[in-house]
Symmetry: D2
Subunit: 381 residues, 4 copies
């Protein structure tokens, strides 16, 4: 059985639309059946056709789409609405989709304010639908392994978490050079109150809380805007105080010229430490107090990373699995959870995915990180 999905946003030329499609398609569990890919009807139609949809399932207006598709017979109606519009256009379709009874997959960050986030949370609590936010980096097998090792005490008591997310693509004023990705991300009306921190800082924050299994209590930040005339931050550094005395740092930049997509995390405990780097995602470095450095590897037959990591890989060791595969793990897990819900079965908790709690945390993080930087003070989160 396959689930059916309708998409909002993500038309031709966007980065994230095709990624969602490749990810959804990978395990043959989810099928695209409808879409409102753009508010411009012709672009939406062009995109839909390229994605293989019949014309009658392509819309220029997402409200119309939700209304019409929700009235389709059960064997045609989508199960999932996928929202991949700019940040300011998440809230409305997500709320409408939830209220219409659809499961929802939404791009990150969740929305543009804590208030919106709380509304979405309420909508979910009053309904019976599932929600996934695509903090996709938590879908990598070695990230699952890292989280499992921390939870299992293999590092002892955690002391320090260092997370970084460095890109260089906004080193120049790309938003004035016709780069669509840069345009909306640097426009407060579309991106919300944060630039770099919203776009990639929230990923780093989610990863730090996900792997450490701990929550940040307060933070101190310095947000920077290096490129003249840019309104939002394009760089920032944050001190993080977690629960249980864990200290951390979160360093993010989109003007780190020369960097591609350098997300990495290091976690130090009393008995050992971990390091993971997104750009070589199949390695997990484990430094234990009394042993030589060990390198766990995705699906390796030599010192297997264990059942949870194995459930999130598709190939034998040495066959590199990448970004799309990790993204697909969120889709696959979300689909399994929907099916379990539908069949009233208990699902295997190792097939997890980021949900509304992660989305809400992200919005609170952005509030705090902007406020702390403005006031030069520590800020509770």
């Amino acid at each position: 059985m396959r689930l059916r999905m309708a998409m909002i946003g993500g038309g031709t030329g966007s980065f994230i639309g095709p990624v969602h499609l490749m990810a959804a398609r990978m395990d043959s569990m989810i099928e695209l059946v409808a879409g409102a890919f753009s508010s411009k009807t012709d672009i939406s139609e062009k995109s839909g056709r390229e994605y293989g949809l019949p014309v009658n399932r392509i819309y220029g207006n997402w409200e119309e789409m939700i209304e019409k598709e929700s009235r389709l017979p059960a064997d045609q109606k989508p199960d999932i609405i996928c929202v991949v519009t700019p940040n300011n256009l998440h809230y409305a379709p997500v709320i409408k989709a939830i209220n219409a009874g659809f499961h929802v997959i939404c791009d990150k960050p969740l929305c543009i304010s804590v208030e919106e986030a709380l509304d979405i949370k309420s909508a979910l609590e009053s309904g019976n639908t599932l929600f996934c936010i695509t903090h996709n980096y938590s879908g990598y097998p070695m990230v699952k392994k890292a989280r499992e090792m921390v939870a299992g005490g293999e590092l002892g008591t955690i002391r320090k978490v260092m997370v970084e997310y460095l890109q260089g693509w906004l080193s120049d004023k790309e938003e004035e050079r016709g780069n669509k990705q840069a345009e909306w991300r640097s426009d407060p009306a579309k991106a919300g109150k944060a630039g770099c921190m919203g776009d990639i800082g929230t990923h780093a924050f989610q990863l730090a809380e996900y792997i450490s299994g701990n929550r940040v209590k307060r933070l101190f930040s310095q947000l920077n805007t290096y490129v003249d005339g840019r309104i939002l931050d394009d760089d920032g550094n944050v001190f993080l105080d977690f629960q249980n005395g864990i200290k951390g740092t979160l360093l993010a930049s989109q003007v780190a010229c020369g960097e591609e997509n350098a997300l990495s995390i290091r976690v130090y405990g009393t008995a050992g430490s971990l390091e993971w780097k997104q750009m070589e995602p199949n390695n997990l470095y484990f430094r234990k107090k009394d042993s030589a450095l060990q390198v766990y590897r995705t699906a390796s037959p030599y010192g297997s990373p264990g059942p949870i990591a194995e459930k999130h890989s598709r190939l034998p060791g040495g066959h590199p699995e990448g970004f799309i595969e990790a993204f697909a793990n969120l889709y696959r897990n979300f689909a399994l959870n929907i099916m379990a819900l539908r069949n009233n079965e208990k699902h295997d908790s190792s097939y997890d995915y980021p949900g509304i709690a992660d989305g809400l945390r992200g919005m609170k993080f952005l509030d705090a990180v902007v406020d702390s930087s403005e006031k030069d003070q520590w800020r509770e989160i």
Copy 2:
């Protein structure tokens, strides 16, 4: 428009069946519509259902499938037959599929003798169908870049090619422990005259000829069988003499305990050299006589690897692309070529794929490598 594909072999539990499916599906250009996944009807049915097929398109017998499917109306009939059976079961279905007018994708090595290979070549020459052999490693963007750099003279005159393919999974007698993959690969009746050399040596050989743009003229080999009671080689070393005075080495092993899937190649010329490693496929190391080491990277915005590599990547730089993506490049390119043929258009030659010539070369290589080792002599190829 999508192409329709039927599969022979590749049922549940096989390694390569699901890989072909994920690869075929990635770009929404090819759709599985039928299959004879196993000669055991129940297994074939189970597999087909898991792959989402209706029962009437699932077969227990591939001959029956080709016959029935070839009689379907044009809007249902498959365009492509994909053959992923053990080596000894390539020849018959490939010939039959070609003769029935299907395009064919076949796993490597092509078959089990040069004679069979020549037959297939003849069949293709008498028909009008396209043929792809899945030497998938040539689908990586950085392999395309490497080939382009050699062809463009960036390394000067090539002198030396060093290719290696090291695995360790046959270090013990896996074929007696219920490992299906090991069973047929170590059985001469199913695998043909070579073990390690057939399974992975042919990949290394194809890669060396593909990147160097040169052909091996003669070779000297020492094949080894380390595991007691194993009949075929599980390891081997080969000296390669190419055209134009290029010398090379090909080192392959399936008993290199600790290695996962370590295919790598180095090419040395008078003006510089290249290195590529399959397990970190998004890097291409370029050592030029008068410059610091340079590292080209898939889709990098900093010193782009150029249009051919870009046509074979799907994500911005820093988002790791892996094995499935490279495999999918073969499918995508094959599909583009089929469409160009159908539309009578000239296709862009940068969308290349390994074909019958590569398949035939592989069989000749195996003949030579086995013969040289037995006779302790250099052997023409």
Copy 3:
């Protein structure tokens, strides 16, 4: 001609004494002739004999040594006094040695207060002797290259500096386990007001200012003490605001379990960026806006790192040069400067070494970093 050196501290069993000796000896320019290696006469004698000294040049009291040695005839008298005692015992011998007309090499940090540092500066200004502080990491060839590239504008305008120094050897309470190195470093009476920041933070700070060619104006820090009962910081994170709008981070720890001696620095500019890691010191990663990643390498014949780096390497490319060689570069450069001074010659400014200015900056950094952390405020430096 060789220079003669007397050493204070650094007896048998110390880490840094033998390092200074190996470094001094490497280029045959400096010879150990006397020493007060410990205040315990027997230990001093034992050490001196192991270092090959005659008994009459071994002292149990450094004051006595300076007095007696300064009265020796010109062809026996030391040229240099080397001070390698714990931090609290730098000031007195350094002042006395300067006043007695000796050149001085002193371990870092310079002393235990800004006041002491200013006194040393005054003493130097009233005399005619040279002073070197062993911020040895600035002696690596690739660090010289990095500084040269920044100064030469190859990175454009600098925006961000990220420096880290991570060790794990104080993860447990080593100071109560008989570890002499840990004992004095964790004792405020001997180490001064900072622990981790004094021991390794000052190295990181010096390296950041050295390579960036810029000075930190103010900072915000959070110092941490993870190990129960420890008085001084064993970890800390610092935001750095440099001149010219450069922002930076300095992350240091001695409780980063699993880390050995992980000093690294990244510098981002508008046109490119640099990365250097002390544990693989012969590589310098250069990411330029419009080029593939380049890796400069110590003494490489392929894209030479240039004359300044070459003056600081001793072997052809590919022959790894390490910690002792970099340390020896400080000694060699200091010796060359002493000779130039003596001969009244202009010395080549590429043979530089860290001096009193670096030492004073370090003390100011420690004042600021401790004060900022205590008051939770930005602090001028």
Copy 4:
């Protein structure tokens, strides 16, 4: 107590002379007291003065030096003669030095024929002096660890040894561009019958036998000369059959454009494998059948590499030790053995060094490798 050394060859501008001196000097156990650095008296004098020698201990003629120095009183007479001339000038001074009762350190390869090597062996057997050949790569701590692990059975039964030594500095005809190093190495009268194989192939061969603890029985080689007009090989590939069924490959080149000094070795056994690379010598990769990849590191406090490696390192983990330090280990161990012999003490066998047996093996290897290549046949060794 220090040992005194006289040097033959190694004058100003040579590569290896200063390396020997830095290595000898590092541990304060050996002191240069005399030298015949060149047959040109003025060059010898200039070199000797730069090395800090008095004029009366500098010679233009090595025979004169041996004669005069051997008549000096016991407290001045050298203990060791160090021979660092071109290959054809090893035999005569080595024999004369041995016969005069000196201990001898000689550069590799030992000489230019098996006959000469056997003569040297006989001379040593009739005397009571020790002999060291500077196969310096065996002095690295991680090489010691590798050998110990193989001997201790940690890899199970060894199956395969892959050694490589790749350089690119002879990619062009350097011998006609005033490069002294290239001149004699490419001249059969000075280098002997092999070029690349003599210069670096013998290092690789010694390393393979040293780490594997096994001897090569026969080999098959293909030697190549890529550069027009060059007489000796500048490249070559060899199959090695060891005792006990171990197979191996030795790939060497001096025309591998872009390579610096890329010596590496991999050893595969039934229970695991090892990898070591000279250009990052402080890592030893250990892949065990049932564990994640482990990385042993020189002097690491985390999973110490054990006592033998520790005896061959001088710094705490994370402080990179390099080529000179490894070279110095040979000198230190040789000095310790001389002292033990003198004091009639049993020496600790972990302080080993390559001796006459290694030198003789090297000459036999060269005979075989040249002969096999000429005759296109396997050749006993």
